[in-house]
Symmetry: C2
Subunit: 234 residues, 2 copies
Amino acid sequence: MPARRQANANSESVDNYLKAILVLGGSTEQRVTSTALANRLGVAPASITNMLQKLAVAPEPMVEYERHRGVRLSPAGRRRALEIVRHHRLIETFLYEILDYPIEEVHDEAERLEHFISERFEERIAAKLGHPKTDPHGQSIPTMEGQMPVREAICLSEALAGGAYVIDSVGERDAETRRRLEATGLRVGIKLQVLPRTSAETCSVSIRRAGQPEDAIDLTAELAGGIRIVPFGI
Amino acid sequence: MPARRQANANSESVDNYLKAILVLGGSTEQRVTSTALANRLGVAPASITNMLQKLAVAPEPMVEYERHRGVRLSPAGRRRALEIVRHHRLIETFLYEILDYPIEEVHDEAERLEHFISERFEERIAAKLGHPKTDPHGQSIPTMEGQMPVREAICLSEALAGGAYVIDSVGERDAETRRRLEATGLRVGIKLQVLPRTSAETCSVSIRRAGQPEDAIDLTAELAGGIRIVPFGI
DNA sequence: CCTATATATTAGGTATACCTAAATCTCTGA
DNA sequence: TCAGAGATTTAGGTATACCTAATATATAGG
Ligand SMILES: [Mn+2]
Ligand SMILES: [Mn+2]
Ligand SMILES: [Mn+2]
Ligand SMILES: [Mn+2]
């Protein structure tokens, strides 16, 4: 009945650190600061430093770390992070498609289970789903070999006023942001038109949903930043 | 991305202790000794004592514990243990029925996941499976309300020579025993006839499978003890 | 160029869940 | 009855992953 956990690497915590470094580093794999990680993970900066030092000197180092200059993933760390992201997105897709979860509940369940499913489980749900390329939020699912397909999509906060777009993906955010986003009704596949800037605030956006031209929706920079779009129509 | 775990009770370890006490206490809910728990869980006896003392003095005690006299579950502990057993058996059924796992692999996956699925996940797989009453090993699945249906089945080691039976359930065992059991080909639904005792060893049994009268199978007390049967035919 | 401030690290401490070795109980059999 | 064997508990320690407070570093502005 046990379930002994091996002493070293690969704990739930380590997984979450690696995933956070992957996301915060962005496509250019910039060094990530302790503070950024502390905010993202909700732990004290001192705890971050501790963990990074441990991960950097492990037998198979998960990160490259230099005091005061941030971290980035080592090849092994990157591999593991992508593995967990693949688990996460496959689980979300599975919960949504097979278990009929409401979309706003898939994230929290996936956030936990991503660390505990076996390779067999991963393989079986992928097969059951027909090896999907994207999750229900429109995000690419990394391949089994650890390749993350890049999407051709721009950020809503960079869109040109007057343009017509369709939502390509909605980023992973904290629970509160997710709730506010959900309230706007914006999700993958929704068509919208960007309105001329009304607020002085940089990166905030006003839009109009296709089919509902009467109601303008104002989005804060934070909300708009998580939505990626592609041009629609001609 | 976090997934903060509340400080007190309800860890994976605690769950496994409670489940072990439930099973070892049997239907009569006998007190369970530290040694029995230490063997079952694969931890040092001293660790057992530590955990039991903690569980006994928690704000909502999970066990009734008296020094040198063993433990049993409190009502709250029993509730939690049955909840985890329900998770375990629903997950096994789900892996077997929906994800087409080979039967010998369902246990290990369920042993891990049972601690991490949400109530929603539990409810959804139960619904998808049509609210099953037994798992793929023939064991009863506790109800959502925490009732464990009792089965009318006797232990193979108590069967009368000459009787014809069908296997009702196969108990949960350690990996090694499971492997040996699997090698005999015995599973739920298999029909067999008990042969006159050949070995002097108490509780060991010889049987013959229906349809394969040529090969007698000798089972050790340990193997036979995990197999429960019901009379078959007239 | 050099200090103030923000950023990051070190130091020291907590809780969980294990471990080994050293007591201390319990209870059986002479 | 009571000694000793076996079961159990206590004592003291480890590793992980957090925390707060104190200290050190980097660098941007004056
Ligand atoms: Mn996670
Ligand atoms: Mn995997
Ligand atoms: Mn378990
Ligand atoms: Mn449940």
